[in-house]
């Protein structure tokens, strides 16, 4: 249990009020935890609560002291019209270039807003995934990715976990979640919502 990075018991999270059913979860080092469930069940809200954005209304949330989190939301970074190269984007979060797929590696000199939507999304995601952190929280990371991107992401997630990071990912893509995660939790609708 010393390897536990995050644990929650009967956690209820929300923004203006409780919005999720009570949830138990435990994230050890080097493991990937998937959260699934129907739309509106509060998957993103739980991730936001772990990152300190949403409120915890009930239950106990324990984060290892000094834990460094990296959090990718579904909001797309406002990169359009910004003169920022791919290399500069990665440098912002301290993400390494090593391991990027070749179709992105060769485009790092370009402005990010000159990349295709999928390439831009993957680079913005990579900047979070490979940032120095103990826990990586990813919200719908496969959005906008084609088959090659999704496959590469699965490999990168396993590699990141093998290096010791804990990863929690929220996705509606059940095949992806079951294929990449060590543990999957299906959230249920909160009774009071």
């Amino acid at each position: 249990m010393n390897d536990l990075l995050i644990s929650a018991e009967q956690l209820v999270a929300g923004w203006q009020g409780p919005a999720t059913a009570p949830l138990d979860l435990a994230l050890p080092r080097g493991k990937i935890l998937g959260l699934t469930g129907p739309n509106g069940v509060g998957k993103s809200t739980i991730l936001s609560a772990l990152a300190g954005r949403a409120k915890c209304y009930a239950g106990v949330l324990t984060l290892r002291p000094g834990l460094r989190l990296a959090f990718q939301t579904q909001d797309i970074p406002p990169l359009s019209g910004l003169p920022l190269s791919g290399r500069e984007l990665l440098a912002l979060t301290g993400a390494r270039e090593q391991g990027l797929p070749p179709w992105l590696q060769e485009r790092l000199k370009l402005r990010v807003d000159q990349l295709s939507g999928g390439q831009r999304h993957y680079l913005a995601l990579w900047a979070i995934l490979q940032a120095p952190a103990d826990v990586v929280l990813l919200d719908e990371p496969t959005n906008n990715l084609d088959a090659a991107g999704t496959e590469h992401l699965a490999l990168a997630l396993r590699q990141r976990a093998a290096e010791g990071a804990g990863i929690i990912l929220v996705s509606h893509d059940e095949a992806f979640v079951s294929g990449v995660c060590d543990q999957v939790q299906t959230m249920r609708v909160a009774p009071h919502v």
Binding site: A70, P78, L84, L92, T93
Partner: protein
């Protein structure tokens, strides 16, 4: 141009020609380019108020701008939930209205009011240079130091919270730097001359630069080239400096764009 009479005004404006485009890049990054006009108008109103109250106008302008810059987050959160766009528009209108009313009702303020809106670069003395030069020498490295934090705050706003780092020192620190710089610039180049340097070079480089660092360097270069040319033309043809600078920068912008 290099006559002693014009050398000090030239050097004073040159410092601002480097600093304002750099500042403008960060304001544009944060979608806050309207802040340049808002801070400039508030500084003008503060300077006029100080003049009427018997204080040094420069101190009044800087004080008013610092108050607004430091309190911007506080006011913006109450006026609107997200960005400070509406807050800047209200500040701009409030500063302009107060400045015009003061100028209209106080003969002493009328002259200074015209000088602040039209610019008074040629009347800048060495005391102005001794204030602006060290300020710019402080501002430029501060902006480069804040660059990564400001980009992160814009692109990954959750980065700071997820790492239990406070973002307010970065944001409020930048707001203060921006407000004070624009107050100094307004009292030297005038409201619109300052706005031209804050707005046009960043507008060009956001379209053309290949990277953030190249963009910053290009913005400063465009600012300096435009400023030097405008200074020479305005002096040579005995024209007001601010409008010549604005037209020249617009012309450069249209050619490049």
């Amino acid at each position: 141009m290099f006559d002693q009479l014009f050398l000090i005004p030239f050097l004073t404006g040159l410092c601002l020609a480097v600093a304002l485009p750099l500042l403008g890049c960060f304001l544009r990054l944060r979608d806050e380019w309207l802040a340049a006009l808002a801070y400039a108008h508030v500084a003008a109103a503060g300077a006029l108020l100080a003049l009427i109250a018997g204080f040094v106008p420069m101190l009044g302008g800087m004080g008013a701008a610092a108050l607004v810059g430091g309190g911007k987050q506080f006011f913006a959160q109450r006026i609107e939930r997200s960005a400070g766009g509406a807050a800047f528009a209200l500040l701009l209108l409030g500063g302009w209205a107060l400045a015009v009313l003061l100028a209209a009702n106080q003969p002493l303020a009328e002259r200074l009011g015209h000088a602040l809106f039209d610019g008074q670069l040629y009347f800048s003395g060495s005391d102005n240079l001794y204030l602006i030069l060290p300020w710019c020498l402080l501002l430029i490295p501060a902006l480069f130091w804040l660059s990564r934090q400001l980009l992160l705050a814009r692109l990954y706003p959750d980065y700071f919270q997820a790492r239990h780092l406070p973002v307010w020192p970065v944001v409020t620190g930048f707001d203060l730097l921006a407000a004070l710089t624009l107050a100094l610039a307004t009292m030297t180049l005038g409201v619109m001359g300052s706005f031209a340097l804050v707005f046009v070079p960043p507008w060009i480089v956001f379209r053309r630069a290949r990277s953030w660092h190249q963009g910053l360097l290009l913005a400063a270069l465009i600012g300096v080239l435009g400023y030097v040319a405008a200074f020479a033309i305005a002096l040579g043809f005995d024209q007001p400096f601010g409008p010549v600078l604005a037209l020249l920068l617009i012309a450069i912008g249209l050619v490049v764009a």
